[in-house]
């Protein structure tokens, strides 16, 4: 959408809520090089959230929405869970459908947008929890990757079903005790990043959201690679501080502890040669104007 479409009808301007006026005047739709540093200086594309104070998902949401390369032409697809409580406050079109069907919705959506807007940027980004991605939605998650559907899948991994009170999910660690796993989970955390790599994803990252600059980088890469090359997958550790017995201030440290070398959320990335070349070319192009300026 052209940024000019995000306007308030002049006759209604004075009665529009200040949040909407801010959105029109201060949001970074269409801004080249938008990123996490815009947070706090411009109107965010997430208004408020009703998640717990200190919830890492809420941090991740802000970084992601700040980092989408073209929010004015991005449609998001979510699923039931804590993230779905935030989507009514998100200022890009987003779809909530049935639990687990997010990658099926995204497949159809991306195809329709490609038919209707050939040659134009229309990014589709899926954002769902681990239950939706690896359990109830696994078949549709994998099949979208098999088919090479060109969209980004983001999994907010809190290693359980948080919104329904903390039940065991496929991405929970073996031995961890939770509802429906009273004696500890009997099987290992599903290796979804590796499965994503084998299923045809062009770019896969496993990390926490402790560093906004890292989230910005992997989001941009994932969306741009999905645009041109193939499906991309980001598994982001967004611990549920409630279910792991921590308080609001402790989410960040939990993430930092879990990404230390040897820990399960140590930064991990896989990419195809094509994706690697694409990113290298992009880097080279960015450096070129600077090199010219120096010459």
């Amino acid at each position: 959408m052209s940024k000019e479409k995000i306007q308030i009808c002049p006759e209604f301007y004075d009665i529009m809520p200040p949040e909407y006026r801010d959105l029109v005047e201060q949001a970074t739709y269409g801004k080249e090089g938008r990123g996490w540093k815009d947070i706090g200086q411009s109107k965010e594309l997430i208004e408020d959230h009703s998640l717990c104070a200190g919830c890492p998902e809420s941090m991740a949401f802000r970084y992601i929405l700040a980092s989408l390369p073209n929010p004015e032409d991005t449609v998001m697809v979510g699923s039931t869970g804590c993230t779905s409580l935030v989507f009514p406050h998100v200022a890009v079109h987003n779809i909530h459908s049935l639990f687990g069907n997010q990658n099926a919705i995204a497949s159809g959506l991306k195809r329709a947008l490609s038919v209707r807007f050939p040659g134009r940027i229309k990014d589709v980004v899926v954002l769902a929890g681990d239950g939706a991605t690896v359990d109830i939605g696994l078949d549709m998650t994998l099949q979208a990757w098999f088919r090479q559907e060109k969209f980004t899948t983001i999994c907010f991994d809190n290693e359980l079903y948080a919104n329904t009170g903390g039940q065991e999910s496929g991405l929970m660690r073996k031995g961890f005790v939770a509802k429906m796993a009273p004696m500890g989970k009997t099987f290992e955390k599903v290796k979804l990043p590796e499965i994503a790599r084998e299923s045809g994803c062009a770019y896969v990252v496993n990390c926490t959201v402790s560093k906004p600059s890292l989230v910005e980088k992997v989001i941009r890469n994932a969306v741009l690679i999905a645009r041109e090359i193939g499906p991309t997958y980001l598994q982001l550790y967004t611990p549920c501080i409630l279910e792991i017995g921590k308080n609001s201030m402790e989410g960040l440290q939990e993430m930092r502890d879990s990404e230390k070398p040897g820990e399960r959320f140590q930064y991990k990335e896989f990419m195809t040669d094509e994706a690697k070349k694409f990113l290298a070319d992009m880097e080279a192009q960015k450096k070129q104007p600077a090199a010219l300026a120096q010459a």
Partner: protein, 408 residues
């Protein structure tokens, strides 16, 4: 006015698509354009209708007896008549892929049957609430258990509560016309609901019949997604802070009220479709000799068998009337009450064990003891017209001659 087009759609009338077909005013296409006879199976009829339907996206999955039709649409896609086509991984996934495409503003088509319908089922009320005018053709067949691939209309019973529009074709001609007409009705802004166009598996899909086809170089105007009463999810309109179905996660009166009013609105949309459906398919029912004391009221293939039974009874000197029900949703309450007002005996033959059509009729008319729910066949058993005749004789206390009878 009924069945209107938008300004955008009207501006395309007379223009050609990339296959050289001319976008045609639906009124002209359906009621005035010259027709040519063809001898086709129901599956081939689906292909011919979709060839002319300006469909953007079709998602396919194999299940008997619609696999042929679903694959034939693939041939249309390969030839350039359908913009995008893919094989999904299960009916639940397929209906989600259809939803995604419809959310994105595409005209969407799919097909399913029996266990596939059941597999897909969570999607149907979601389509309704999301106001997605998807057309799903349901080629009715048996539902497990036990497994049966044979004709059976049991699944329609479940569809009745979803909020979708539901039409039930009797003949291949009904089928051809209604597949095209379904989009015009479903896409009306005051309707904008998914529609299930049903036919009986094998009886319609796999038998050949003479069908009068409209010219292949005339096609429907394309879908205009900006006629939708809810925003199209394509980021071409400013983002409002809502999702397609209002997300009610609060436990308070306002959220309950919003949910309830959204539900009422979708039910209202189905009611509002009457004024479009009636001129489009020639009434929600058709009647013959409804002044008779004995009526057969049926839908789908049971109507055809009813016609044969009426002919047999006529030979015996009995006068029996016929009511063919074309639309199950919206249900033709007034039309049924009017048509059945003189009848003393109302027989409802059905290809399912529940007798859902008889239940619908009993709920609609006064003195519903007049309704005899039957005969019923299931699991693929055919319904010979003699079986209907025997049911009528039995109910009237008349002499019945059958091999299973006690003899005279």
């Amino acid at each position: 006015m009924a069945n209107e087009l938008s300004e955008v759609q009207r501006s395309l009338i007379g223009k050609q698509n990339k296959k050289g077909q001319t976008y045609t005013d639906p009124q002209h296409l359906f009621f005035e354009a010259p027709r040519t006879a063809a001898f086709f199976t129901g599956s081939e009829v689906i292909k011919e209708a979709i060839r002319r339907a300006s469909v953007d996206v079709m998602v396919a999955y194999p299940i008997t007896p619609q696999s042929e039709a679903a694959a034939l649409i693939g041939e249309l896609y390969a030839a350039g008549y359908v913009a995008d086509y893919m094989r999904g991984e299960s009916e639940f996934a397929v209906m989600g892929q259809c939803a995604g495409a419809a959310f994105g503003g595409a005209r969407v088509f799919t097909t399913t049957a029996g266990p596939g319908t059941m597999r897909a089922f969570e999607n149907f009320p979601m389509w309704v609430g999301s106001r997605l005018p998807i057309q799903v053709i349901v080629t009715c067949r048996g539902i497990n258990s036990p497994l049966s691939i044979q004709p059976d209309t049991l699944e329609m019973y479940f569809l009745l509560g979803t909020g979708m529009l539901v039409w039930h074709a009797e003949t291949a001609q009904d089928f051809y016309d209604w597949i095209l007409k379904a989009y015009i009705v479903a896409e009306q802004p005051d309707v904008h609901l998914p529609i299930a166009v049903c036919c009986d598996g094998f009886f319609v899909t796999h038998t050949k019949d003479t069908v009068m086809l409209t010219p292949p170089d005339m096609c429907l105007p394309p879908y205009d997604p900006y006629r939708s009463p809810v925003p199209c999810m394509d980021m071409e309109t400013p983002p409002v802070r809502m999702m397609r179905d209002p997300f009610i996660m609060k436990s308070n009166y306002i959220s309950y009220m919003t949910h309830a009013s959204w539900q009422e609105e979708t039910r209202g949309a189905c009611e509002r479709s009457r004024k479009h459906t009636i001129p489009m398919i020639g009434g929600l029912i058709e009647t013959e000799n409804v002044d008779a004391e004995i009526l057969i009221v049926a839908s789908g293939t049971a109507v055809s068998q009813g016609r044969e039974a009426i002919r047999l009874l006529e030979d015996e000197g009995m006068r029996v009337g016929l009511v063919k029900i074309k639309a199950l949703r919206p249900f033709p309450y007034e039309e049924i009450r009017e048509a059945t007002k003189n009848a003393k005996h109302i027989f409802v033959p059905e290809f399912n064990v529940i007798g859902w059509l008889a239940q619908e009729i009993k709920a609609a008319i006064p003195d519903n003891h007049r309704v005899i729910a039957g005969p019923h066949v299931a699991g693929g058993m055919t319904m010979p017209s003699e079986v209907i005749v025997e049911e009528i004789h039995k109910a009237l206390g008349q002499h019945v001659t059958t091999l299973a009878g006690r003899g005279s």
